[in-house]
Every structure is written in structure tokens, then in C-alpha cells.
Symmetry: C2
Subunit: 277 residues, 2 copies
């Protein structure tokens, strides 16, 4: 399996694992985002993932910011939905760098141009990554602000670290990506491993996508209830149904799980339990 | 969307559409074959699909038989399961030929070597394509028999036409592939279109995979009941549950639906209903 195929498999394995409380999975769609959208994105993002995997030195490869724009172009639907926005933020440097240590170097080398390209790319989507501030991705003057302040893409992520657990990965050495991969190795093969890693993350980290959509109290409640599921005190199907009913979607946790699956697959984690033994 | 991406999307859209009576879909796995296996196959088959799409003239492309071997190598699990065996039989000439008319020409140009490669490829799987006869794919002397008789791959398919509706497509101008695509255009976008096309095919054609696994009486019963679903006289969920319980899997119909989606996507059929209007 090539690194690009590992990234595509990670996107596929995350969305098909179930039950994952609150998220699109095999048995749950949201009105505007369905299982097929996630799987189409995994298939159609490939040229951008290939650009990410081939460094700028190899045949005039694209800069990181350009790769983001390509990924968004290939996977954003006409209403601006983008299913793998957060996952691309993690997968692109991981593919470019080869592993977590390499990705940590790659993000340090990003430029102001990368930041501007990133803003351009994601302004085409309806995704919100930053809290309302002069660097709000929806602000048409944000690119000028980036240039005035000389902010690179890793500076942008650092700016967002408090409010965005995906951006935070760029500036803390992909800490939760590593933890998700470790949990997959610990939990075992296949979708049960994915669900277990997902619950572990959900029970120990505040999902910042839930904070943005529903506020910190709801995010704290989800974290606590995920812990109760892990402790055997709460039924996972009930918790899943409750999240779906209330529109609570731990989207950033899912992004980090995708990155964790990508890393774990490269380290020998088995997605197909029937291959074991 | 490139032709190869259309083929991958077709594999993805077929398996995620539900309810499809008896088949693996979003809410049903079989013990040894799960949704993830089908989706992994759609992702991992890409290099073989690329070889199929680039003709032998373009950069020394592979012969049809070699493409089949590559597809099987990339997608067969260690226990010999191959989820898209029948789909590859249709997609490979369609990709090589560009459309149905081109595919019909491509199959006429296949050679004895293609037939031998095809046998080699599929002897690695547990899939059975031919009835027990001197050309049984499991017979170690089958390759010699092919050479002695000078049989090309289209001759092999012609030999199997009575017992295998997928092989039959090679020698009748991809008749059911065309009909499946027409039905998709008629039924409309997205997974409802796929389910409708699937039921139409199931109600009018005897699925030869069911014949092989369960005999002609069961296959006739499935055909009749699919017609009753279409006529509003039978509940589709009940019919689905009955097929799953009895292990009745209309696998060849699914293969033809994949080929039909591939053709329809190229003719403007919309997989994503949210893009409409």
C-alpha cells in the first residue's frame, strides 16, 4: 500500500467504522452530508494527495498551500460542503514529511504564500476554522493581514491552537495523531479498533468542532459521556442516537482518527481482521 | 472525473446503495465479506484500472489478461476472497475501449495469452466463474486446454455465456450494462436510482451467481419477488432480510450495476442528488 493509498484507506476506514457517536457512519447520514460524500472525497482527493506525497523537489512538486487548494477543488461540492477539510490539514504534512517527525519539519518550513493559498482554498468552502478575528477565514482582507504580519501557515495554525484541536497538531508534534495511532495498536485490528480509539480520544479531549457548534458545556458533556461508555456505564448505541438527534458531531476527533489510522497503517496495524493469524 | 475515477466511484456507489436485497450494503455484511472489503478494493484496484485505461499503444500498456492479473493481485485477500471479480470483467474492457462500442471491439481483439493470464489470475482466488468442465478455472490443465483449442478470452466468455450473465456481456454487446445505465438515467440521481436499477435488473434477469450457489428454482423465486417489490406488492426491507437470512446474494446483478453506473456517470448521470437544480 502506497502512502497515498494509506491516506485514502484511512478516510474510508474512519467513516465506515460504527458506531461512532454523532458522526456520519454506515448507518447514519446527516441531511446534507452522507456516507457517499465522504467516500467520494477519499477517491477524488487522490491527485492532491499525490502532490502532497511528492516533495517540492521531485518533479517540481506543489507547495503545501497549493496542495490544500487542489484538495479543496477536488472535493468541495457546489454548496461549499467539504467533508475532509480537517483531515487534509493533517494528512498533507504527514504525506509530505513521510511520518510524524517529518511532518513536524514540513510545517515549520511553510511560508506566508502557503498561508495565503490556504486561506484562498478554504474561503471557497463553508468550513470555519478560526474564531472571528482579523484572521477570520471569511474576512476578504485576511490575506492582506497575513502578508502585513508576515504570518506563515504554521503561524496561522499556532494562532488557532486554542480553539482548534486540528490546528494544534501542527504546533505540538501531532500529539493526538500519535496517541490515536498508539490506541489503534493497543485496541487491535479493524473497525472495533477504530471505534475504541475514537472513544478514547472523545473521552479525554474536548472536541473543538463541538465547542464551535454547540459551546463548551455540550463539549464537556460529550467528553464525560464518552468516558461513561468506555467504563461500561452507558450504552454506545443510546449515546450515538442522542448525539445524532441533537446534531452533535465530533468532527475534529474524526479528523485526528483519520491521521492516526494513516500512521498506524504505516506501522503495520491491520485494517482487515480476517487477515490475522 | 477521469474514467478510472468513474470506475472507482461506480464500485463505491454500488456497494453503499441500500437496500439492495441480499447484497452487502451499508447495513449488511456477510461473515467473510464486509463493506470495507468492497471499498478497499475500489481504492486499491486503481493501478490495474489505470493499466486498463491506457491502451497497449500508450507507453507500452499491459494486455487485457495482464490487467486482470494485476487487479486480482491488488484486491484478493489472503483467504482468496475477491469482491470485485465480476466487476473487473466488465470494467477492464470498458476502460480500455472507452465506451460500450469500444469495449465490444476490445474483447474481439483478446488473445489466447489473455485467456491463459485470466485463468492464472483467477485461479488465485476462490471465485468460480465456469461450470465444471475441461475449462473449469480450478483445473490445473485448463491453460493447456486453452492453448490446444486456440481459445481467446472472448472465446472463454462465449463458452460461459449460458451459465454466467457477466461473461455473456462480452458476447452480446454489453446488453445489460447498457440497460442498467439507461435505467439509472430514467430513475434519477443518487442511491435511489441505483436501488431502482438494481431491482429492475433483478426482476427481469436470472442472476447466474444465485443459480450457481442455490440452483435455478431459487433464482427464479428471487426474480419473481423482485418484480413484486417493484409492483408494490412486497416490502423491500422484508425481501432484503429474507435474502440475507438465506445467504442469497445476487452478486452478478451487482457486477452489472457497477458497469452500468460507470457508463451512466460518463453520460452525465448525477451520483450526488444535492448537486441537482
Amino acid at each position: 500500500m502506497t502512502p497515498v493509498e494509506r491516506a485514502q484507506m484511512a478516510m474510508m476506514l474512519e467513516v465506515t467504522a460504527s458506531p461512532k457517536p454523532g458522526n456520519v457512519d454506515r448507518c447514519h447520514d446527516y441531511d446534507t452530508t452522507r456516507l457517499e460524500h465522504f467516500l467520494a472525497s477519499a477517491i477524488l482527493a487522490r491527485p492532491a494527495l499525490e502532490k502532497a506525497a511528492s516533495g517540492p523537489g521531485c518533479g517540481g512538486g506543489a507547495g503545501i498551500g497549493e496542495v490544500f487548494r487542489e484538495a479543496v477543488r477536488l472535493t468541495t461540492d457546489h454548496s461549499g460542503g467539504n467533508t475532509h477539510f480537517g483531515a487534509f490539514i493533517l494528512l498533507v504534512p504527514l504525506l509530505r514529511g513521510g511520518d510524524i517527525a517529518g511532518a513536524a519539519r514540513v510545517v515549520q518550513e511553510t511560508t506566508v504564500d502557503d498561508a495565503v493559498e490556504f486561506y484562498r482554498a478554504f474561503s471557497l468552502t463553508k468550513v470555519r476554522t478560526l474564531p472571528t478575528d482579523p484572521l477570520d477565514i471569511a474576512d476578504p482582507r485576511a490575506a492582506d493581514t497575513l502578508r502585513e504580519r508576515g504570518m506563515t501557515l504554521v503561524d496561522v495554525m499556532d494562532h488557532s491552537r486554542e480553539h482548534d484541536m486540528v490546528a494544534r497538531e501542527w504546533v505540538n508534534g501531532f500529539r493526538l495523531t500519535r496517541r490515536a495511532a498508539d490506541e489503534l495498536h493497543r485496541s487491535g485490528c479493524g473497525k472495533e479498533g477504530v471505534v475504541s480509539a475514537f472513544l478514547m480520544l472523545l473521552s479525554t479531549e474536548t472536541d473543538t468542532f463541538i465547542v464551535k457548534e454547540h459551546g463548551p458545556a455540550v463539549a464537556a458533556e460529550v467528553k464525560q459521556k464518552a468516558g461513561e461508555v468506555l467504563a461500561g456505564k452507558r450504552d454506545i448505541a443510546d449515546f450515538d442516537a442522542e448525539c445524532i438527534d441533537r446534531g452533535i458531531n465530533p468532527g475534529s476527533t474524526a479528523d485526528i482518527i483519520i491521521a492516526g489510522i494513516y500512521i498506524a497503517l504505516g506501522e503495520g496495524w491491520e485494517w482487515d481482521c480476517s487477515r490475522k493469524g
